[in-house]
Amino acid sequence: MNDREVGQVLLVEDNPHDVEVAMRAFRRHRLDARVEVVSNGADALDYLRAAERGERPLPLVVFLDLRMPDVDGIEVVREMRATGASRHVPVVMNSSSRQERDIEASYRSGANSFVVKRFEPERPGEYLIDVARYWLDLNEGVR
């Protein structure tokens, strides 16, 4: 756990365009955190289980795409909340739809926040920075 001082952000996103936009925004703002990207739910769970075993630090926040093939966002957050140290890790659901049933299912499964993907040509991906700032700088999590 030598890089405890540099927080981790885990971005779970299967759409490569969205990943690119997010990474550009993170790079531009030089957040005091390392962003790790996995492209599906199963990999996200593997990543978190490895972190629970102490093989890598637990992320300070997880940005989780809702709709992914096979293991979707809902399943990931349920699995996270069920056992282990990752049950306390804040999860921000990130979806392109704002359907009530998705929002409801997310919170019921244990998500901490729900953010609809925004497409703003003047500031592509910047909304993620706004959200990340809150979870990284202002929020106090379980250490």
Partner: protein, 544 residues
């Protein structure tokens, strides 16, 4: 005219009386036969319509079972407690007898059962099919919903299962007995009835006053499989609600015979007169039997109509479900590629802005704006469809408070220009709080938008009572519209002004229309070019 009847006249009157009497008996008999046939026909139609009702419910519940099984596949194993809680709600609201892991008695949910349990539940001739499904899922390592399978003969119903590896299976099922009770009980005042499966009586209602010589039968099928036969014996109210016509004809005819004989005896009426009377009698019988046939036909048509309405309702429900799925995927799957267009053009501008000439930049902007417009339109369309679909929550609302809070929200970011809100009497009303807020918000933001060129923007909100309804209005002093446009204006994506002058997608008024229609009210508008516009909507009720 002779003062006493002659011997010849006497013979004639007896003969005429006898002929009329015979004709009456004949007419009575044939009417009885016709009535019997019609009663049989009506009864079996009635039976078919009840059986149709049962089949419709069954299909509905099989759909519910399938939804439940899908839900389990997705969430069931991760959160047992939540799954159990949701499942109970499902059971209560959908009339399923059981779900989740079940014991063979369909009473307690068991959370772990062996694969043999569904096998014990299934009827013998369905077991091969079940075994095959189980083996396939184990071999392929997949999980899917299989069924419906029929329950064993002693316990009529069906179940569906999700074979999971070697150890366990999910079962969602339904026993038919209680359902027969609920459907048939609603018709029990009219008929004696029972549901039979071969010789086994699954359900019966006995009504001693019901006729036993008329029986209607109809098969009850689920997925081409006959689960039983419905047999009904209707009471006379159902099949024979009219006058006992044949008795009237018989007594009328016999009476006519006696009277005719008597009259001829005393007055010596001629054969021609008797024949005329006979003719009248026949015509009378004919017209009564016509009326009877028409009545039976009307009853037949009514039954037919009922079953057709049921079929249409089922088809409509399916279509609505499809549409919801369609909306859902449109909102998600189309947003992503459009979003990528917006983001990628933004990236090109950012990374290569210096090297891209003005014309190319203009075209990039055009691509971006079009994608943005498409996303905005999709969002409006979804909002429009939501306005028609979400459940109404009726509450007594303080309309005055609602209007002023909407106004504050709309004018909070307004920098320049003078805007005035004039509110007159606004009674409270029972309506859905968030939907009525949306109505006022759409109308008032339109009022502001289309009067923004005025030196002083005046928005008036008021109401009046009209035919037991409350009519609210929102008026502005803006650019107005042509009278001819007032019909079109409520249609979705209809715009009367160019987007560059007055931005918007044209969904706002369509949403207002839909919300008010769902509340049992009506919307309309008045306006003239350059003379402002007034939008009205009526709502039933109002408390002061």
């Amino acid at each position: 005219m002779p003062s006493r009847p002659s011997r010849r006249d006497g013979a004639w009157s007896v003969a005429t009386g006898a002929v009329v009497a015979l004709a009456s008996v004949g007419a009575w008999y044939s009417l009885e036969v016709i009535r019997e046939e019609q009663n049989l026909k009506t009864t079996s139609q009635f039976a078919r319509s009840i059986a149709g009702e049962i089949e419709w419910m069954l299909r509905d519940q099989i759909r519910a079972s399938r939804r439940l099984a899908r839900f389990w596949l997705r969430f069931g194993r991760q959160r047992w407690d939540e799954w159990e809680f949701d499942t109970r709600l499902y059971l209560e609201n959908n009339g399923l007898d059981s779900a989740a892991w079940l014991d063979p008695k369909f009473t307690d949910p068991l959370w772990e059962v062996g694969l043999e349990t569904p096998m014990q539940l299934a009827r013998e001739d369905d077991r091969a099919r079940l075994l095959e499904a189980q083996e396939t899922t184990v071999r392929e390592g997949t999980e899917r919903i299989v069924g419906p399978f029929r329950l064993q003969d002693g316990d009529h119903g069906y179940f569906m299962t999700v074979p999971v590896g070697n150890s366990a299976a999910l079962v969602a099922g339904k026993r038919l007995g209680p359902m027969f009770t609920s459907v048939l009980a609603s018709h029990a005042e009219q008929c004696a009835m029972r549901v039979q499966y071969s010789n086994l009586v699954l359900f019966s209602v006995d009504r001693p006053e019901c006729r036993s010589d008329i029986k209607g039968e109809a098969p009850i099928r689920v997925f081409d499989d006959q689960v039983g036969t419905l047999i009904i014996e209707p009471s006379t109210d159902v099949v024979d609600a009219g006058n006992p016509l044949s008795i009237v004809v018989l007594t009328g005819g016999l009476l006519t015979a006696v009277l005719l004989g008597g009259v001829m005896w005393t007055r010596g009426v001629t054969r021609a007169g008797a024949a005329a009377l006979l003719g009248v009698n026949r015509r009378l019988e004919q017209s009564m039997s016509d009326a009877r046939a028409t009545e039976a036909r009307v009853r037949e048509l009514n039954l037919e109509l009922e079953s057709r309405v049921r079929a249409r309702t089922a088809a409509l429900n399916d279509a609505i479900e499809d549409l919801e799925t369609f909306n859902y995927s449109v909102s998600h799957d189309l947003r992503s590629p459009l979003g990528a267009i917006i983001n990628v053009t933004a990236i090109i501008e950012e990374d290569h802005g210096a090297r891209v000439d003005a014309e190319a930049r203009h075209h990039l902007k055009l691509i971006q704006n079009s994608a943005m417009a498409a996303i905005t339109m999709m969002d409006s369309l979804l909002a429009f469809s939501r306005a028609g679909r979400s459940d109404l929550e009726a509450r007594l609302l303080d309309v005055r408070g609602l209007v002023s809070s909407v106004w504050d929200e709309l004018t909070s970011q307004d920098a320049g220009g003078k805007t005035v809100l004039k509110v007159s009497d606004l009674p409270r009303i029972v309506a859905d709080p968030s939907l009525l807020r949306l109505v006022f918000s759409n109308l008032m933001s339109n009022a502001l938008k289309f009067s923004k060129t005025r030196p002083e923007v005046i928005v008036e909100v008021g109401s009046r009572l009209e035919n037991g309804q409350v009519v609210y209005w929102v008026r502005d002093n803006g650019v107005g519209f042509r009278k001819e446009a007032s019909e079109r204006i409520f249609k979705v994506f209809t715009r009367l002004h160019s987007t560059s002058l007055y931005p918007g997608t044209g969904a706002g008024l369509a949403i207002v229309d839909r919300i008010i229609t769902r509340h049992g009210g009506r919307v309309w508008c008045e306006g003239a070019p350059d003379e402002g516009a007034t939008f009205y909507f009526s709502l039933p009720g109002g408390d002061d």
